[in-house]
Structure formats: C-alpha cells, structure tokens
C-alpha cells in the first residue's frame, strides 16, 4: 500500500516538474517580455531591469533558480505587481476563487443529487424527462455563455444583481450559478444512473420485502450506496471549480486566480505565470492523486498495476 502511495506521489512531482519546465520554456519563447511597452524603454534601463531580476542569466540557470526558490516555499516575485510576491498575490486571489468555487460546488452537489435522485425514484414520469432534458441542456452550455445570458436577464433586464465585482453576497450568486450549472447537470446524470442501478440490487428488494418503510429503505440502503460514484467525482470537480474558471471570472470582473492568470499571460509577468501554473497544476494533480489513492483503498486490484 505504501509503495502505491509513494509511486503516485512521485508521479505527481514528475508531472509538476514537466509542466513547470515546459511552461517556463514557452513563456520565454513567446515574443515580448515584461518590459515591452509601446513607449519603448531605453536599452540601458531594460538591461538594468533584467539584471536586477536575474532575467539576463541563461535559461537553465533561471529555471534552476526558480526550482531552488520553490524548495524554500518562495514562488517568486511578480513583474506587474511589484510590491508583492507571487505567494502574496495568490493568497489574495485564491480565497475569492475558492469562495466562488466552493459555493458553486455546494450548489452543484445539492441540485445535482436532489434532481438525480428524484428522477431515478420517479423514473419515466414527467419529473424524469424534465430532469434528463435539463441536465443535458446545462451540461452542454459552457459557464461563460450561461454567465452572459444570466447577466442579460438578471442584471440588465431585471436589475436584481450587479453585473460583477466582488465584496457582497449578491455578487457571488450569478457567477456561482453560471459555474455550477455544468457540474450540477453532470452530477445529476451520475446520481440518476447510480440510483437506478442501486435500486435494482438484491439487497434493496430484500429490505423492502422485510417490510421496512420505504423511507428507511431509501435512506439506509439506496442513498448511501448510490452516492459512492458521486463522491468519487466530487474530488476532481471541486479542484476544477476552486482553481477558478478563467472566463467566468473575466466576465464578472472577479479578481480571482483565473483572471490573474490570464492577465499575467497578457502582461508577460513571468513570475506570476509560473506561480499560478504551478499552483493550478498542483491542486489538480493532487486531487487526481487523492482519488487514485482512494480507488486503491476501495479496490485492491488497482494497486497492482
């Protein structure tokens, strides 16, 4: 078992190394740099800036310095926000992405599970058909398009919510709904399929034939077992939601990690780009690793691959 976990952790580190190296390489290949601007800086100034930030050293040396910094927990400095370190910037942006993602996650789980179960328990009634149709619809419309339609209807049309920004609860609702729609639909489908599957199991029939109340059967037997697959996708979904949806944050002007990343790319803010990519890659890979390990715990066959 320990060997299994160690192997997964090693893969995690390897993936992070490769992602960071390729990102680093790409970053330096893309034309323009942090000092490029229309009103050109004098060459002497550019040279001095590069020397100060170590950008004049050879490529591999720079990458090496970056790795050494990581080992000390230092993600580097930002070239756009020169008064703060990357870690500080991420610490400011992450809570916003996390709150948004977390709210979306809770919303998605509640709505998804509720509708999925309702559809399964009332299979082939209108509730089922409506649920399947809506879950397909919302599983296909991306958050960015949904966000825009929501803004048009609820901000521009009804004036119920502000179009964006961050700070008050009313600004969380629309982006959270836009983000939650797709996962909710996805979770609803899984829940429905899994509940139908569970309901067909023998132990459910046994429980019913024992004379247990339907409600007890539902809670004690069906619910717990039907939710296993849902719990397994919850991990990666949560990671994906929390690392911030770039486009939704852009539309709603939310200063979260996703938007910071896009702005950093457009500003060639090397420090912030590397820090954010590593941060993202870590969270996503970590979530996948945890799920892998959980699978290994649940299903011993997988450990011996």
């Amino acid at each position: 078992m320990t060997r299994f976990v160690i192997r997964r952790v090693l893969w995690l580190i390897l993936v992070l190394l490769v992602v960071s190296f390729v990102t680093f390489a790409l970053m330096h290949l893309v034309p323009g740099g942090p000092w490029s601007r229309d009103k050109q800086l004098a060459p002497a100034v550019v040279a001095a800036l590069n020397a100060k930030y170590g950008l004049d050293k050879p490529f591999l040396v720079q990458y090496g310095n970056f790795l050494v910094g990581i080992l000390h927990g230092d993600l580097g400095i930002s070239y756009s926000y020169q008064d703060r370190s990357v870690t500080q910037i991420l610490m400011q942006g992450f809570p916003k992405s996390a709150i948004l993602g977390g709210t979306a996650f809770i919303l998605a789980m509640i709505v998804g599970i509720a509708f999925g179960m309702a559809a399964a328990l009332r299979q082939n009634t209108w509730i089922d058909y409506v649920c399947v149709m809506f879950s397909t619809i919302f599983a296909s419309v991306p958050g960015f398009v949904l966000g825009i339609l929501l803004i048009i209807v609820f901000s521009v049309g009804l004036h119920w919510f502000p179009t964006g920004g961050w700070g008050s609860p009313s600004q969380v609702i629309m982006p959270a709904v836009a983000l939650a729609a797709l996962p909710a639909a996805f979770i609803a489908r899984i829940t429905r399929a899994s509940t139908l599957e569970t309901m067909r199991q023998d132990y459910v029939r046994t429980a019913r034939s024992k004379g247990l109340l339907e409600r007890v059967v539902l809670i004690r037997h069906i619910l717990r077992n039907a939710l296993i697959p849902v719990v397994t996708v919850a991990g990666p979904e949560f990671a994906a939601l929390v690392t911030g949806s770039v486009i939704v944050e852009t539309i709603f002007s939310i200063p979260g990690v996703g938007r910071l990343f896009v702005e950093a790319v457009f500003a060639r803010d090397y420090g912030l780009i590397m820090g954010t990519v590593l941060f993202y890659a870590f969270i996503i890979s970590f979530a996948n690793m945890v799920v892998d390990i959980l699978y290994g715990v649940i299903d011993p066959r997988i450990r011996y691959d």
Binding site: V30, P31, G32, R37, D38, Q40, A42, A267
Partner: protein, 198 residues
C-alpha cells in the same frame, strides 16, 4: 497645451476623389495591383473597433482590402519596437505638456520612439534650434514650423485624441483637470480637492 496650432493638419480632409488621384499617380489606378497591406494593432480596448472601421473605410471608399493583424499587447509592443510591421496603430501620451515631449521623440532621426524610421534634416534642424531656444515665443514658432514639416511629409496619420468625461458630485470641490492626468481625472492636483459635508 502650449504650441497648439489649430491650423496645422487642416490640409487633410476627407476627399475620396483626391485619394484616388494620388493612387493613380503612384501607379495604382487598379487597386488590385497593390501589394497586401497589413494593419497591426494591439487587441485591447477600442482598438479593434478603430481597426475595423479603418478596414471598412478603405474597402468601401477605395476598394482596397487591408488585412488586420490583431496581436496581444506585449507581442505588439515587441513588433513595433523591432520595426516588424507594415502599418500599425500607435498611441502617444506626453509626460509633460509641451511640444518638447511630442515632437523630437517621435520624429527625430533615430529617436527612441521613432518607429516609422522618419528622417528629415529640416525637421531635425528646427528641432535642435527649438530645444536650445530660450525665448518662448520664438521657441513655439520653431515648433510650429517643425510640426508643419512633419505634417507635409505625413509619416503618421493622426486619427483622434482621446477624450475623457468626468462626473463630479456637487459636494466634491476643487477638482482641477489637466492634460497630464493619469488614470483618474484631476489626480495631478488631488491635494487641492475638498469634500464638503453632504
């Protein structure tokens, strides 16, 4: 803005016939013989609208199809600074309100922000003279002439100046807007602003 002369630049007005004449003079009465013209710009703010407007005008008035090349802002800056463009959309904001900061940097031979590669000894001479001149009236007259030289050569085509609109609450007193304001209007002289009770 010192040095502002409303008459300079008035020689250029919207005149499609004249434009076609000039094209014919250059040997392109048949515009399909023109090489492909690429217009580069940084894909931010209102630039895409300006660029598409330009494209529409060229197409509808002269029948010339220019190719638009939107680039992200850093790539664009890089290309402009290395001269890697055919026709580009550029902007200029002075660091201080004086022709000193508008003309030599953009049009002087070999100047740092002279991306067009423009070089006219007549302009350089006037420029040197004006920079050294101590008498203000004479100085501004020199700059006038220098500007006219540039306008006649037309290395650039001025399209518009940005305007800013300020909405001020009645209880905010003392806002002084200048041409040098940065991101917020009146920020050059914020220390003069007072807020009355309301």
């Amino acid at each position: 803005m010192p040095g502002y002369n409303a008459n300079i630049g008035t020689q250029y007005v919207f005149n499609v016939t004249k434009a076609k004449q000039l094209l014919a003079q250059a040997g392109y009465s048949d515009v399909s013989k023109l090489p492909q013209i690429t217009f580069s710009y940084s894909n931010t703010g209102s630039n895409p609208t300006v660029a598409q407007f330009l494209q529409g005008q060229m197409q509808q008035n002269l029948g010339i199809n220019i190719v638009l090349d939107p680039e992200d802002s850093k790539t664009f800056s890089n290309n402009v600074n290395t001269g890697n463009f055919m026709w580009a959309f550029f902007g200029w904001g002075a660091d201080y309100p004086d022709p000193d900061d508008w003309l030599p940097a953009l049009f002087g031979t070999g100047a740092g922000n002279n991306h067009t590669g423009y070089s006219n000894p007549a302009f350089d001479a006037l420029s040197t003279k004006a920079l050294a001149e101590l008498d203000n009236t004479k100085r501004l007259a020199d700059w006038d002439q220098a500007q006219q030289v540039v306008m006649n050569d037309a290395p650039i085509i001025g399209i518009f100046y940005r305007e800013g609109f300020v909405l001020v609450k009645p209880y905010v007193k003392g806002i002084t807007t200048t041409g040098m304001d940065g991101a917020l209007p009146g920020d050059t002289f914020y220390n003069l602003v007072t807020i009355a009770s309301h």
